[in-house]
Assembly symmetry: C2
Amino acid sequence: MNETKIDFSQGLACPIPKSEYDKVLLAHGGGGTLSDKLIGKMFISQFGNEFLNLQHDGAMFSIGSERVAFSTDTYVVRPIFFPGGDIGELAVNGTVNDLAMCGARPLYISVGFVIEEGLSLDELWRIVLSMKRAAENAGVQIVTGDTKVVDRGKGDKIFINTSGIGIIPNGRNVSPKRCMVGDKIILSGKIAEHGMAIMSAREELEFETQIKSDTAALNGLVEKMFLVDNDIHVLRDPTRGGLSSTLNEIAASSDAGILIDETAIPISEEVKAAAEILGLDPLYIANEGKLIAIVGSDKAGAILSEMKKHPLGKDAAIIGEVTETNSGRVIMKTSIGSKRIVDMISGEQLPRIC
Amino acid sequence: MNETKIDFSQGLACPIPKSEYDKVLLAHGGGGTLSDKLIGKMFISQFGNEFLNLQHDGAMFSIGSERVAFSTDTYVVRPIFFPGGDIGELAVNGTVNDLAMCGARPLYISVGFVIEEGLSLDELWRIVLSMKRAAENAGVQIVTGDTKVVDRGKGDKIFINTSGIGIIPNGRNVSPKRCMVGDKIILSGKIAEHGMAIMSAREELEFETQIKSDTAALNGLVEKMFLVDNDIHVLRDPTRGGLSSTLNEIAASSDAGILIDETAIPISEEVKAAAEILGLDPLYIANEGKLIAIVGSDKAGAILSEMKKHPLGKDAAIIGEVTETNSGRVIMKTSIGSKRIVDMISGEQLPRIC
């Protein structure tokens, strides 16, 4: 099939000049501006289409008369077992959440394992049991899979890709573009727990209280929220890059600004203290069981009180609003009353967090 | 979410005893009996459901009134560029083919990159362009994606997961269980080209004629075949583990035996000679642009002549039939007229072939 081959002699030049970078850096996978550049210039520019261009947590399209969401994520977290979870549970919950953030009810999950030669079967078995339990909890089925083994030293114990399919019930229309002036911004709970749990496991830090990953499937909480308001505008889970990156992505997708109130952001004392010791900003630290909802201001109170009834939403809070000013930017009113721009992170604080 | 945690103190014991294996071996990813055991005992036993248990190339289910196929594969081929293709093209074609083997028309593809820190952006760019071209050729759209970067020495340049969704037109019912006594077995072309191309690239072997990978999207050929007979019984692409593994899997899924004729199997002189030099059996060497169709004997001739009109089917041949005897087994009539059992490979001949 000669027509499938590319003639590089007259090919398109690489859109990132060598003078800037000629190799992939860890930071290109960090979920910040470097990731955005790589994805935008190299992937979206070539693969781009009406679905991919939305840069949502998943693609949304119709199959017959149904609206469907389709999402993929590969998990490369290190270590593979950490306080509060493991790579298997994370991989199932992550894709369930990406589908839920499209307003979809997650149904079917695929699993692609890349195992490094020498991984103990006991560890693999623990991961399998954990994925099974996570799928049951989220109400999804693992319907297809693939297993590859790479030579020792060419992987890192195990990487897991999960892709998923969900159905979007009628009337839901969730998109970062629907962020509207006057909307309220709800955060479902305390931030930075997943990232700090990974960090403490990796560095063998001992805090007085063990910080656990918040990994959880959010589809149950999301369904409760839609019962109150079928017209939720935006849903996103602030994973890699943390709350700041997700809010910046939403602001960039819309014509509005985002104003948040530092004192309203839920965070535990332990996480705050640990982040301070390590010199990390919790706004940039990953979450794996939290969501941001942007909703009409008249609905915000009712949605919030419904969320507070759910175990995964008990610490939910309205943390800000969408403004006409500062279009495309995220501004934070700090605890001392001043205002500052919350930038997107450029590289990564913590590589391989998920 | 305490309920998502597994209590290992009373957990299920690993179903593969330590006395047998306690670590994952390269051979567990080779597509042979060791792969089957790992997948069966550890994955299917826990994740098992009506879709996964079929062990088809993909899962098939309904969304609304449509029948849908969903498939996943991770590509870890080494080297990432090889005669006749590269990992990017392979990743797109592979998932397109898995969907086509379900009788589906492939529509949407997801891409998950795991990039090793230090991969040159030029190489990544070549892969991206190649994926774009492959998607265009196959008529599919890349609609969602994910990019992870792992530390140098914790990956191997790039691994690519692709998952895909396709729609199965009405009336098609393709399944390895539909292999029926008297059916004819058609092979779409010459075997073992992908595996030999990888092997020659890896070992820097020089043959008189360069052997090229046969990587190609088979969905166009499959559609032509369905035009002749909407009731094709079985479709499979003999990738990892080669023709022998795929035929053994089909025989094991049905209650019938498979009898093939060695002299009828298309193979080029170059591949035959190269395999002989390397001491490899072409029946066990991977293909990436070939399919096996098992069809009603009254339809076989018409399907074959339609296939021969297509560039990817010009060397197609009827290589055998489904028998009442030797249930669950693959028997080959050799070129000297004797008969022998064609076993499934236990480990792998060539690791990381796809």
